[in-house]
């Protein structure tokens, strides 16, 4: 079947017309989001995607053997990657992303119709091929968009754990770590490592863990605290847990958790006072200026 009109031949030969029509449909469907992506950018992205398709199409199957994972479709995948990257940053929704590519159907169907109107069977086949192709591309685009977002969330999570456990030396031989938010296994591990490192670095004898900012102390948090405390003890230092509010105390008792051999205090002030006492540090109001 030489020179028969197919989806591929239309996109390759009638490139400019397809692009123009596509942009028109994008506007009509209201998927351009000119508030987020400028018209120029939209046009640029559409052009890149379409030319990537035109590039891939002579080599790759567009019929039932269509597989976007094939090497020949790489330019299309790259173009989608760029578009998704750009649109994630602007906050474009997945629906809009799907529509943006789905809008390509109308011009393609129209052109197939006018070329193949006489041959309904070929027309049906090509419309089916075009649908499959565009659906696959738009699904791929949505998937890329979602994975980009997940990557952003993952990065934010990593940033959170980074800032979560700053160990501070507050006095000679005394280090403290204020815990904030949730203490999952991963963060507990980070806290423990940071704390043990700090004990070595500053030759600390007392490590104060301040849990004022931890909203829930359940059995897992308690277990992490117990582990950290015994590791601290193994290093030859003493562990003081402070910031235990009345409601946390009652909850821990109800849970049945015991914290044997761990010094606990109500707040950081009394924790520090305990540490001073242990180290024989005397703090008093000096007679400066007298």
């Amino acid at each position: 079947m030489p020179n028969e009109t197919t989806v591929a031949s239309i996109i390759i030969n009638d490139y400019d017309r397809v692009l123009a029509e596509w942009l028109k449909v994008q506007t009509a469907e209201g998927v351009k989001r000119t508030d987020l992506v400028s018209g120029k950018e939209s046009e640029q992205q559409s052009r890149e995607l379409l030319s990537a398709m035109a590039k891939a199409m002579p080599k790759e199957a567009t019929d039932d053997d269509l597989d976007l994972a094939e090497a020949g479709w790489e330019p299309v995948r790259d173009a989608l990657e760029d578009i998704a990257e750009n649109r994630t940053q602007r906050g474009v929704s997945t629906t809009e992303m799907g529509w943006f590519i789905g809008a390509l159907k109308q011009p393609l169907f129209k052109m197939l119709q006018s070329e193949l109107g006489e041959k309904p069977r070929v027309l049906m086949r090509e419309i089916w091929n075009a649908t499959r192709l565009i659906d696959q591309i738009s699904l791929h685009a949505i998937e890329t968009l979602v994975s980009k977002r997940e990557a952003i969330i993952e990065r934010q999570r990593a940033e959170m754990t980074e800032v979560a456990a700053p160990v501070v030396k507050i006095w000679d031989s005394i280090v403290t770590v204020p815990l904030i938010g949730t203490l999952d296994s991963f963060r507990a591990q980070t806290v423990m490592e940071n704390l043990l490192d700090a004990i070595v670095q500053w030759e600390a004898e007392v490590a104060i863990i301040d849990i004022t900012g931890v909203s829930t102390v359940d059995t897992m948090v308690a277990q992490h605290l117990l582990k950290t405390a015994s590791a601290v003890r193994l290093m030859g230092a003493e562990c003081v847990i402070c910031g235990i509010s009345p409601k946390i105390a009652q909850t821990v008792v109800n849970l049945g958790v015991e914290l044997p051999n761990i010094v606990t205090r109500v707040d950081l002030e009394s924790g520090l006072a305990y540490a001073f006492d242990r180290l024989g540090v005397q703090v008093g109001r000096g007679s400066a200026g007298a």
Partner: protein, 134 residues
């Protein structure tokens, strides 16, 4: 007379944190005291974590029950896990099939006003927690 207020899918430890927030919100909605709220949130944390660790994930839903003025929060957590062989033993303190303290189920039971657990190897485990405002 229950209408579902929130529903949290449990898959990761981050979802457990989300379930805790939903629990705190539900307790705030019935005007619960801080201590009751803290206890309920902690119980939810235990149950939700169990669903994630032992139950291959699940769902926890929160709803209000009772007449106006004496509303209570009900949390129902279901998982898709293998079920619990011996529930009495699982709820008793110090028993754990993992490496945990073994206080989660028993502790959760002591933290709430009503605690119910059913389990089968086919349908997984279902835990119901109920807590009043005072």
């Amino acid at each position: 007379m229950t209408d579902e207020a929130a529903r949290v899918t449990l898959k990761t430890s981050g979802d457990v944190a989300f379930a805790r927030q939903a629990a705190a919100k539900a307790m705030a909605a019935i005007g619960a005291s801080t201590i009751k709220s803290t206890k309920f949130v902690t119980a939810v944390s235990e149950i939700a974590r169990n669903a994630v660790i032992y139950g291959r994930g699940g769902v926890i839903s929160f709803s209000e029950a009772g007449a106006a003025g004496q509303k209570r929060v009900v949390a129902v957590c279901t998982d898709r896990g293998p079920g619990i062989d011996d529930i009495d033993r699982a709820v008793s303190d110090g028993f754990s099939t993992g490496k945990s303290l073994g206080l989660g189920l028993g502790g959760a039971k002591r933290l709430v006003d009503r605690f119910e657990i059913t389990s089968s190897s086919k349908q997984g485990t279902k835990v119901t927690l109920e807590c009043g405002p005072r």
